[in-house]
């Protein structure tokens, strides 16, 4: 039973002990988590490098060049200004998008700045090499995670909310907004907002990202023409790939923020060694409901 595995506890020393150790993350989950983290970072940065080779996005089968959905460029001024255009609206993004200072200290015409890309200098072929290698690593690692998750029952336990959790959806959202996280037995499992987020990331964002990436391959389009139907053309697939990448960045930012806010060392220990501390609920609760010193 996965449930017992997740709640395997160190000997409870009795009423005085307010903390309880719990073995939360099996080794496969921990390893695939960190491999995945590295893969996503490399894929993001090498992806921005590839994007910089033609920093514009379109919808449909082909590029219209003059009228992109979103595009980055630099002006003829000295020093050049970076301009980002989104659906006809232009913004001055000098220093960040369109024109930024490279590693040599010179202003360079580039979509994303050198600190955001891998390799840092303009190097499409280098970016492609990094991207493809880590795309394979990401997919194989993801499959290992899914296989293990399904067989062990971890996946269902982790990402499928129970019926009682659904009933407390509103309360869970409120807990996140007020940064008051579940304690005691409730902390042994992921809360409903967490589960639904992981569910969407695992089974919507990441698969869509892989499919959109494949849809940009002319050979894959020959083998699986439905990819083009699915995304309404190769250029839309490229746009979707970019937007989903941005959503994944948003996910990671919120994920890391919540890791920091909900007990950084405890969370890190959990994902590194597997052991996680559950703070027991203090009963009766104080008037304010605050239990932390």
């Amino acid at each position: 039973m996965p449930r017992t595995y997740l709640t395997r506890s160190a000997p409870d020393t009795g009423e005085v002990e307010r903390r309880r150790w719990m073995f939360r993350h099996p080794v496969v989950i921990r390893v695939t988590h960190w491999v995945n983290a590295i893969c996503l970072l490399v894929l993001l940065m090498s992806g921005l490098q590839i994007f910089n080779a033609h920093p514009a996005l379109y919808w449909g089968k082909v590029s219209t060049f003059d009228t992109p959905l979103m595009g980055m460029s630099s002006t003829e001024d000295d020093p050049p200004k970076g301009v980002t255009t989104v659906i006809g609206h232009s913004f001055d993004t000098t220093g960040y998008l369109g024109s930024s200072t490279g590693s040599d200290g010179e202003a360079a015409d580039r979509g994303f700045p050198s600190w955001a890309t891998l390799p840092s200098d303009q190097d499409l072929t280098g970016g492609r090499s990094w991207h493809f290698f880590f795309a394979w690593a990401f997919v194989l690692n993801g499959l290992a995670y899914l296989l293990y998750g399904l067989v062990s029952g971890q996946l269902r336990f982790r990402v499928i909310p129970s019926r009682d959790q659904f009933r407390h959806f509103g309360a869970s959202v409120w807990e996140h907004l007020t940064l008051r996280f579940p304690q005691g037995d409730e902390a042994k499992r992921y809360n409903v907002v967490q589960k639904l987020t992981y569910l969407v990331v695992l089974f919507v964002l990441l698969p869509v990202q892989v499919l959109a990436g494949l849809a940009m391959s002319p050979a894959m389009d020959a083998a699986f023409p439905f990819l083009l139907t699915l995304f309404d053309g190769r250029q839309s697939a490229r746009t979707v790939h970019f937007v989903v990448a941005a959503l994944l960045v948003l996910f990671v930012v919120v994920h890391v923020a919540l890791v920091l806010l909900s007990g950084f060392w405890n969370n890190m220990r959990g994902m590194l060694t597997g052991w996680f501390v559950i703070e027991r609920k203090v009963e009766p609760a104080p008037v304010t409901g605050e239990t932390r010193a």
Binding site: K61, V62, S63, Q122, T125, R128, W130, A222
Partner: protein, 310 residues
């Protein structure tokens, strides 16, 4: 509570420092030959898996007349600087001949007029540049398979090499790998310039100047410093694919110089840089190791993958 900000500041500072170190480390890693070769296994896997997924006959999607791009972006060389080519273009390619030779039983030459009399294939296909953009064009030309059957391949022939008219300019490094469909910059250089320094090293910044590049200049020196012209190679799977044609018409008109007149390769299911423009000679070889830097094409010699299905 008062402890928190300092810890947070510490963490922020530490992660910023770590990030900078990691970034610098990644660039150094990316320049190390062993790591580069490791990364390349990803591209090897692309070839392996895509060849499993595609049959020899799997067709690239074809489009309707209405989908044709109003402007088919020319990329790379748009006007070959070579004197010989300019002379041919001036005569509207009346004196042009396509040479087919190498590991074949019956090498031959065909003029443009003769090529136009052969059975042709017309296809409306999407062109995907490695940079990321796409355009749709209508192409008419001779299936490469027909030419190869006519020349009768010898059994040891494994690759088909396309030798092009355009000399690639290497002089000014524009610091960007941003013209990767075909050819280099537009700067004119004298035809037949035998300056070995001119060859190789374009488009990718310092990171390209690796051992491979070193070897390149050695090779060039050894081969007498002849100018490097655009070239490409494909294997027999792509060569005999029904959509692989040598196109002389684009959008029902004679192929313009900017798009590769008088003859360009269309090798659908591949990115743009495989679609060699200004094709002068088709050579069947057993290996392309002796050509250029030995990577199988002009852009391949600059680090791009030989297999361009993705």
């Amino acid at each position: 509570m008062s402890r928190l900000p300092s810890r947070r500041a510490l963490l922020t500072g530490a992660s910023a420092a770590a990030a900078a170190a990691v970034l610098g480390g990644c660039d150094r890693l990316g320049n190390a030959e062993w790591f580069r070769r490791t990364l390349k296994t990803g591209e090897d896997a692309n070839l392996f898996v895509q060849r499993l997924l595609l049959t020899d006959r799997t067709l690239a999607p074809e489009y309707a007349e209405a989908d044709i791009s109003p402007w088919f972006k020319p990329n790379g060389t748009e006007d070959p600087p070579d004197r010989d080519y300019k002379a041919l273009a001036k005569g509207r390619f009346a004196k042009y001949h396509l040479q087919v030779d190498g590991l074949v039983e019956a090498p031959f030459r065909l003029s443009l007029a003769e090529l136009r009399k052969l059975p042709a294939r017309t296809q409306i296909t999407r062109h995907d540049c490695v940079e990321g953009w796409s355009a749709i064009g209508k192409w008419t030309g001779v299936p490469l398979a027909d030419l190869l059957k006519r020349a009768k391949l010898k059994p040891e022939g494994r690759y088909v090499v396309f030798h092009c008219a355009d000399t690639m300019d290497q002089g000014e490094d524009n610091g960007g790998a941003d013209t990767a469909e075909d050819g280099g910059s537009d700067e004119t250089i004298p035809a037949g310039n035998a300056n070995p320094a001119m060859t190789k090293q374009s488009g990718g910044g310092e990171s390209r100047k690796d051992s491979g590049g070193q070897q390149a200049s050695d090779d060039t020196a050894a081969s007498g410093g002849s100018p490097v012209r655009y070239y490409e190679s494909i294997d027999l799977v792509d060569a005999f694919h029904p959509q692989t044609i040598l196109a002389y018409d684009m959008n029902d008109k004679a192929l313009p110089v900017s798009n590769g007149a008088p003859l360009r390769l269309r090798v659908e299911r591949n990115l743009g840089y495989k679609h060699a423009k200004y094709v002068m000679r088709i050579e069947v070889v057993e290996s392309f190791a002796h050509l250029g830097d030995g990577k199988g094409g002009y852009w391949e010699d600059q680090g791009y993958a030989w297999y361009a299905g993705i």
